[in-house]
């Protein structure tokens, strides 16, 4: 405890802009008195703690550019969080979020958002989520999305979109409008087909990442995956595929069953049951 106090005191006295409070067993930010008064702080790392909630006073840290809350027990976020007008990087990965606060999308400058390994789905996103047009990277791996909102096309600066290990039945064709996209991770979902519009994107270059394995692809797509990603893109750009895709969608096939390999996710466990 006195160590935490010392960090706060030192930061206050020396105007240190970077504070590292990772892996200190913090359960409640009351254990770090004075932290929210450090207005000059720009980078705050609090990963690997046991925070269940973020207090609204986080909004006092008006100069924050990076906030790292990775691997906590957070279930609730304050609406004041998105009032951090200078925040560019927000890591909320590996928490217990099943919803986001109202108005979460009102960040002015947020570029990188990591919400991997939570309990989020298409119903968890506030209506203004896709107002964050400055977003460059969005990590939503290990969540529970079955569909993904078409509004993704509002995020025109998007370079990295990670939807690994969700329950996605389909990928919105609007992903094909994200012309700056360099990385797309959709492995471990329930996808059977790809929207032909995805062919608009160049995702097979040396600085690109396209990960799509572990999906129940229809046979013609699976065959192309065997040959390599560039073959997949060649194929989904073809008229043959456009026709097949149209027929497939029209037939409204039943979605493949859910996999239960994420049932043991740590973030599923209620806090009081957690037994180390």
């Amino acid at each position: 405890m006195s160590k935490l106090k010392k960090i706060v005191e030192d930061s206050k006295n020396q105007k240190m802009k970077v504070i590292d409070l990772s892996d200190r067993g913090i359960q409640n930010l009351n254990e770090v008195p004075g932290l929210m008064m450090l207005e000059h702080v720009t980078h705050l790392t609090m990963s690997h703690n046991k925070l269940a909630a973020v207090p609204p006073s986080i909004g006092e840290l008006v100069n924050l550019e990076m906030l790292n809350l990775f691997n906590n027990h957070i279930e609730e976020l304050p609406t004041s969080l998105s009032g951090l007008m200078k925040l560019k990087i927000l890591n909320l990965g590996m928490n217990r979020l099943s919803h986001l606060p109202r108005g979460f999308g009102s960040f002015a400058k947020l570029e990188m958002l990591d919400l991997s390994y939570n309990n989020l789905s298409e119903n968890s996103l506030p209506s203004n989520f896709f107002f964050m047009t400055t977003l460059r990277t969005l990590y939503l791996a290990d969540n529970d999305f079955e569909t993904f909102p078409a509004n993704i096309n509002k995020l025109q600066d998007m370079q990295v979109l990670s939807l690994r290990d969700n329950d996605l039945i389909s990928l919105p064709k609007e992903v094909g409008e994200l012309l700056k996209l360099k990385e797309l991770h959709i492995q471990g979902n329930r996808l059977t087909v790809l929207p032909p519009e995805l062919g608009n994107l160049e995702l097979t270059g040396p600085n690109n990442v396209f990960k799509a394995d572990r999906n129940p692809w229809v046979a013609p797509i699976l065959e192309q995956f065997m040959l390599g990603n560039s073959h997949v893109f060649g194929y989904i750009r073809s008229d043959t595929y456009k026709y097949l895709h149209g027929r497939h969608i029209h037939a409204e096939p039943a979605p493949p069953p859910k996999k239960d390999d994420k049932a043991k996710k740590a973030c599923r466990k209620p806090l009081h049951n957690k037994n180390k």
Partner: protein, 326 residues
């Protein structure tokens, strides 16, 4: 037999006459001469300092020997001792065989016969050109067939030069100004800076960048064509770009700060980082490529953080990595 009787029998090898007892004798390699008979076969004078030259049994003083037998230089008419240049039906001292026009020694560079004269190659070309009413280029020394370009008083092929302003290969129209050559359009605008984009003179504010001058509104990003208006620009392959398009086109953009990477680039996981921004995604500890890190959704995670991942996730990630390899 006494010595006296032997001497009385001796005779001079030249005049065959005997010697009186008080007469001086000259002995040269066992041949005996009267003092007055030991003279040059040509000028009948005594040998200066006793030095003589012998040819076919006949003795000559140095001067007459040279006169009769040594080669004579076609220029200075002195005898040639040492290296003899045989050329143009004559003998020459090396330093005397020179170009008839410019006096360059020709012994070692070779010469060309031009109207009975020995000339160096440049003089020959010039003479030939003059004969044709043409000039010889001062750079390549070959005849200028077209109009010559005069630079510092000498004629040249214009194509040996480029305009000091626009870099275009010059024609005979080019002008010399303050020791530099310019094409006619650039020459006419000297004194007033010329815009590198529109090539018109700049009357208002001048932007100097990339070794050229620009109208403020003409110094633009090569991609979006928006003027920089004093904002930072980035150069690549002779073009200027705004930060955004430089990033988009050349990719050395830091994944973390989204800025153009100044200095060393850390390349990993299909991305680039500033050295100081390459850090663990989970705890923000600085990493280098020498550190062991784990790839997690194509982001770097330090080993310490990875160890803290839930076991079920580590298992799934491991399984996924294996299936990806297949």
């Amino acid at each position: 037999v006494s010595m006296t009787s032997q001497l009385s029998q001796a005779s001079c090898i030249r005049c065959r006459g005997g010697f009186s007892s008080d007469e001086h004798m000259v002995n040269s390699n066992g041949e005996i001469y009267h003092e007055d008979c030991f003279v040059c076969a040509q000028c009948f004078q005594k040998f200066p300092e006793g030095l003589f030259y012998e040819f076919e049994g006949v003795k000559y003083c140095e001067h007459d020997f040279h006169m009769l037998f040594a080669p004579c230089c076609g220029k200075c008419e002195e005898f040639i001792i040492g290296r003899v240049i045989k050329a143009m039906n004559n003998n020459w001292h090396p330093e005397c065989f020179t170009c008839k026009l410019c006096n360059t020694p020709l012994a070692d560079v070779g010469f060309v016969k031009n109207a009975g004269r020995s000339l160096c190659r440049p003089c020959h070309n010039r003479e030939k050109a003059l004969g044709l009413g043409k000039y010889v280029c001062n750079k390549c020394h070959s005849i200028i067939e077209e109009e010559p370009l005069r630079f510092k008083g000498d004629p040249y092929h214009p194509f040996h030069f480029n305009c000091d302003n626009c870099g275009k290969e010059l024609t005979a129209e080019a002008r010399e100004l303050r020791g530099e050559l310019y094409c006619l359009p650039c020459h006419d605008k000297q004194g007033i800076p010329i815009c590198g984009a529109c090539r018109r003179p700049i009357e208002e504010r001048v932007v100097s960048a990339m070794g050229k001058h620009w109208h403020v509104e003409h110094f633009v990003c090569a991609q979006c064509e928006k003027p920089f208006l004093g904002q930072k620009h980035y150069e690549k392959n002779g073009h200027a770009y705004c930060e955004l398009h430089y990033n988009q086109l050349f990719g050395d953009v830091c994944y973390h700060c989204n800025g153009v990477i100044d200095g060393d680039v850390v390349s990993a996981l299909n991305k680039s980082w500033c050295v100081k921004h390459f850090q663990c995604t989970c705890c923000n500890t600085k990493l280098t490529l020498k550190n062991k890190f784990v790839e997690y959704d194509m982001k770097p995670v330090c080993r310490k953080c990875y160890e803290k991942f839930p076991l079920e996730l580590k298992k799934r990630l491991k399984k996924a990595a294996e299936s990806e390899k297949k």
